[in-house]
Every structure is written in structure tokens, then in C-alpha cells.
């Protein structure tokens, strides 16, 4: 059931928020020993919130489409009175005295929060094989990774434990788990959603967004969490619109098909599924336009420099005790400390230049469609994947098609567009100009309405 279906059932009194919450808690109890998606389950608080939601609806107080809907947040979001670990022993006893702004907005919209979701340690990686709290498993095949860093968010949504989950995306960390777990994942424009109360990884690259079961559900969550926050210096004053794509007409829309980079070194099944979805868009009336993009590998290099430097600056106070980090995260933190300050400055100068260059793309096309990841979910523990006939580091391969959008700050939506022969989801990515989330959601909804998608996860 999607949020929209659940919301409709609530208002028809076919189900109560307490029943929805009880069912979700039951799924967590049964599935979490296998998936390790939740680190903390706040069952009593959730049931109390659900009872309040039912009382309010009965009294005629309707907070909107998220009222009474079970959700959860990545354990990187501050939650008042609830343990918030960041997936790290550094914060194993940290209990915030306030909610992150995005969590507070979901609560104000009536959402029932079920707890905190597992993640890659400190959100600094893409496997969610957390050495301290256990590896999150992919509901489509528990031997495979759910992706990361918001791996618990992707797994929980795919397994039907929650209707939506909050994630963060610094170099693909919403879109990668969405791709691997067969959910929708939206990285909004930088500054669209407040980062206040979210443990930082990289101040200038961090984004907050939802993972959901459908494109329209992502729009509903974005409607609740988007908008200016004066207490977040990166928060934009750009006007907020209704993101819900009531219609999904793409006739005449100029959809860019990248001639370079995005379709190189792909798993064959990924390429076939994404090309099939693009053909569907064309049959729906979109104009598919081949386009040569700027040097995306250069964008990735610049993004990596910024991330390495900023993440190391964030975590430097804790590096005196090296034993509290997993080996992969520690390696990245060390690498960031070895880069000179001038490289960071140069990277931020190049970023400005590249954002300007990339903006020219939008004079030729309205949006871009690409694969989200070049591969389907690797097995847990796999270090390399074979793509285009050569072995590639799993982390670099998996972030290859998504990282540049964090540097550019552009909205990007991942949605499932097929299953591999092994039964693993394939994700495609829709990218649009800054603050055009409504457009990526409209194109995504057109694909969903046009039959692009995957069956419900059998987990």
C-alpha cells in the first residue's frame, strides 16, 4: 500500500492509524532480525502518536496526507529523547534534546515515527555494512547489499516496514539504496530541505530527502519537509510549490539522453532496462534528445576532493581514537587529512565554474534520464564489480553516476525500472534544473503511470 492508499483508507475508516502502526511494527519484528534495517524501534511512542492521530481524525482535525502514516528516519537525524548514533560508537549514548527540522515537519504533518534506521557508519560509504551495528541486508536478496549510506531507509521501505523514510545524500546516499532496493528516492535541490539537526558529513554536499514506494509518495513527503529554515545557513528562500504531479503529461518535453559518460561501462541488464524506460517516455510523447554533457568525470573528482576535506574536518576531533572507526571510513578520513587546503579551495573554485558550464545544458533539454547506478546490488562484502570488461572498485562504480549531482546541487530522482534476471532491481535517474523537483516528479509519475516499475518486493 502506498501513502496515498493508506491515507484514503484512514479517511474512509477502513483502517486506523493504530492498526497501520501495529502492522508496521509486526513487519519490523518479523523482518528486522534478517534485514537489520532498524537500530532503534520506538514502538510505545509510535503507538501513542498513532492513537493521537486517530483521535484527531475522529475530531475532524486532519493534518493532511501524512496524518497517521508510519515512517522512520535514518539514524543521522536528531530525534528528541531517542538515541541517535550516526551508525558510530562515537555517538552510542547520544540522545538529542530536539528533533531535526525535517523530522519535526513530518511530525507536524501527522506522521507516526517508528524509529531510527541503520546506515553506513557516519553516512560515509555506500554499502551499509556497518561494522558496529551489523550489515543491512537487501530485502530482494539478503545476501546482497541494500546500498548506502541510507541502506536501512531503502530496506525498510522496500520491505514494507514503513511507508516512507528520511535519508541523506552526500554522494548518492539516497539514490543508491533506492536503486538497489527498488524504491523511489529523491535528492532535492541543495537548500530545498533543511539540514538542521542532521549530523553533517560534508556541509556543502549534504542533502535531505525521502525514500518511498512511489513517485507520488515522494512528492507528498517533499511537500511536508521542503521550505526555508532560517536556522540552516544553506536553506534556500526559493518559493515552495505543490510538488504533487496530479497529471503526468510529458508530451513535448525535451528529455536529454546523454551521449557521453552515463551509458559507459554499464551492466547490460541495467542498460536495457533504462533504455526501455526512455523508449516508454518517447512513446508517451516526450522528445528524446541526444546531448553531449560536460566532463562528468571531472565533476566527480572535484566532488571527491570536497567530500574528503569536509568529512575529515567534521570528524577530526574524534580521530585521536582511531579504534572507534571502521577501516573503510578511517581510510577516507585519513585521505582527507592528507590533501592540502589549496586543493579544497581549488575544488570549490572549479565547482562554481562547473555549475555555470552545466547550466548551459538546460537550454537544449528540460531534463536528463540516466541510470542511477551502473550495476545492481552487489553481494555484501564484495569489493569490486566487473563492468565493461574490467574490475572496478564497488564504491567508485556505485557513486559514478550520482556524485556529480551533489556537486551541482541539482534535484535527482531515482525510481525502479526493471528487475535483473537474478531478481534485483534496476534504478533510473531523472535530473532537472535547480528547484525543478516538480518536473522530475512529473516525469517519474509519467513513467509509473506508463507501466514502468517493478512488482512489490516479496520479502
Amino acid at each position: 500500500m502506498t501513502i496515498r492508499e493508506a491515507a484514503d483508507a484512514l479517511r474512509r475508516r477502513k483502517v486506523s492509524a493504530v492498526e497501520l502502526t501495529g502492522a508496521a511494527l509486526g513487519r519490523i519484528e518479523r523482518g528486522n532480525p534478517t534485514l537489520r534495517a532498524f537500530l532503534t524501534v520506538t514502538a510505545e511512542e509510535a503507538l501513542a502518536q498513532a492513537r493521537q492521530a486517530d483521535s484527531e481524525l475522529a475530531a475532524g482535525k486532519d493534518r493532511g496526507p501524512l496524518h497517521g502514516i508510519p515512517m522512520a528516519s535514518k539514524d543521522l537525524f536528531y530525534t528528541r529523547g531517542v538515541l541517535t548514533t550516526g551508525g558510530s560508537p562515537i555517538y552510542k549514548n547520544f540522545v538529542p534534546d530536539r528533533d531535526a527540522e525535517a523530522v519535526a515537519r513530518l511530525k507536524a504533518a501527522g506522521a507516526v515515527m517508528l524509529g531510527k534506521l541503520n546506515l553506513h557508519e557516519l553516512a560515509y560509504g555506500i554499502t551499509s555494512a556497518n561494522p558496529h551495528f551489523g550489515a543491512v541486508a537487501n530485502p530482494w536478496n539478503p545476501k546482497h547489499s541494500p546500498g548506502g549510506s541510507s541502506g536501512g531507509s531503502g530496506a525498510a521501505v522496500a520491505a514494507g516496514m514503513v511507508y516512507a523514510a528520511l535519508g541523506t545524500d552526500t554522494g548518492g546516499s539516497i539514490r543508491i539504496p533506492a536503486s538497489f532496493c527498488g524504491t523511489v528516492g529523491l535528492k532535492p535541490t541543495y537548500g530545498r530541505v533543511s539540514r538542521r539537526g542532521v549530523m553533517p558529513l560534508s556541509w556543502s554536499l549534504d542533502h535531505v530527502g525521502p525514500l518511498t514506494a512511489s513517485v507520488r509518495d515522494a512528492a507528498l513527503v517533499l511537500n511536508a519537509i521542503a521550505g526555508h529554515d532560517p536556522a540552516d545557513r544553506s536553506s534556500s528562500r526559493h518559493p515552495v510549490v505543490d510538488f504533487m504531479p496530479e497529471e503526468s503529461d510529458v508530451r513535448g518535453l525535451r528529455v536529454g539522453f546523454p551521449e557521453n559518460f552515463f551509458f559507459e561501462r554499464l551492466d547490460v541488464e541495467v542498460e536495457l532496462a533504462v533504455r526501455g524506460a526512455i523508449a516508454r517516455l518517447e512513446s508517451l510523447g516526450a522528445a528524446i534528445k541526444p546531448i553531449k554533457l560536460p566532463d562528468m568525470a571531472a565533476l566527480n573528482a572535484v566532488g571527491r576532493i570536497i567530500l574528503l576535506c569536509e568529512a575529515s574536518a567534521v570528524m577530526e576531533p574524534h580521530l585521536a581514537n582511531r579504534s572507534q572507526f571502521g577501516p573503510d571510513v578511517l581510510a577516507l578520513l585519513d585521505q582527507g587529512r592528507l590533501l592540502p587546503a589549496t586543493d579544497y579551495i581549488h575544488a570549490q573554485r572549479l565547482r562554481r565554474q562547473m555549475v555555470h558550464q552545466f547550466s548551459q545544458v538546460w537550454s537544449d533539454v528540460d531534463c536528463l534520464v540516466t541510470p542511477t547506478t551502473p550495476n545492481t546490488a552487489p553481494r555484501i562484502g564484495e569489493q569490486t564489480v566487473k563492468l565493461g570488461g574490467r574490475d572496478e572498485d564497488v564504491r567508485l562504480a556505485t557513486t559514478r553516476l550520482v556524485r556529480s549531482l551533489n556537486l551541482l546541487g541539482l534535484p535527482a530522482l531515482s525510481l525502479p525500472c526493471g528487475l535483473s534476471a537474478a531478481g534485483l532491481p534496476v534504478g533510473l535517474q531523472i535530473v532537472a534544473p535547480a528547484f525543478e523537483e516538480a518536473l522530475v516528479l512529473r516525469v517519474g509519475a509519467a513513467l509509473e503511470d506508463g507501466g514502468i516499475g517493478i512488482p512489490r518486493c516479496p520479502f
Binding site: S204, I305, L338, H346, R349, R352
Partner: protein, 58 residues
């Protein structure tokens, strides 16, 4: 190629030499991609970082 172990030592970073040596491959690869880009920068190109004297007082 930079000697990352020597850089770590000179900077006074407590990175064990063995671990610093393991960073050579990823950092050398990144250097190779990044260094040519820097050559394209001109002095008037400012970083994408903003300081607003009024905002910062808020």
C-alpha cells in the same frame, strides 16, 4: 606521485606509515584527475563559498 607517508609525517598526522602507504593508490588516482583541472582556473574565479557580513551576525 607524492610520498603520502612523508606528507603525513611532515604534517604531524598520527597515521601509521603502513596505512598511509595504502592511501597512495586512491590519492594518486584522484591527483591525476584533479591536477589538470586546476590549471584551467584563473585568478578571478572565486570559490563557491559565500561570506555575508550581515548574515553572519544573525
Amino acid at each position: 606521485m607524492k610520498d603520502w607517508s612523508a606528507i603525513a609525517k611532515a604534517a604531524g598526522l598520527d597515521i601509521p606509515a603502513k596505512e598511509a602507504a595504502r592511501h597512495s593508490q586512491p590519492l594518486d588516482g584522484l591527483e591525476e584527475a584533479f591536477r589538470p583541472l586546476v590549471k584551467s582556473l584563473t585568478p578571478e574565479m572565486e570559490p563557491a563559498a559565500v561570506f555575508d557580513a550581515v548574515e553572519e551576525q544573525a
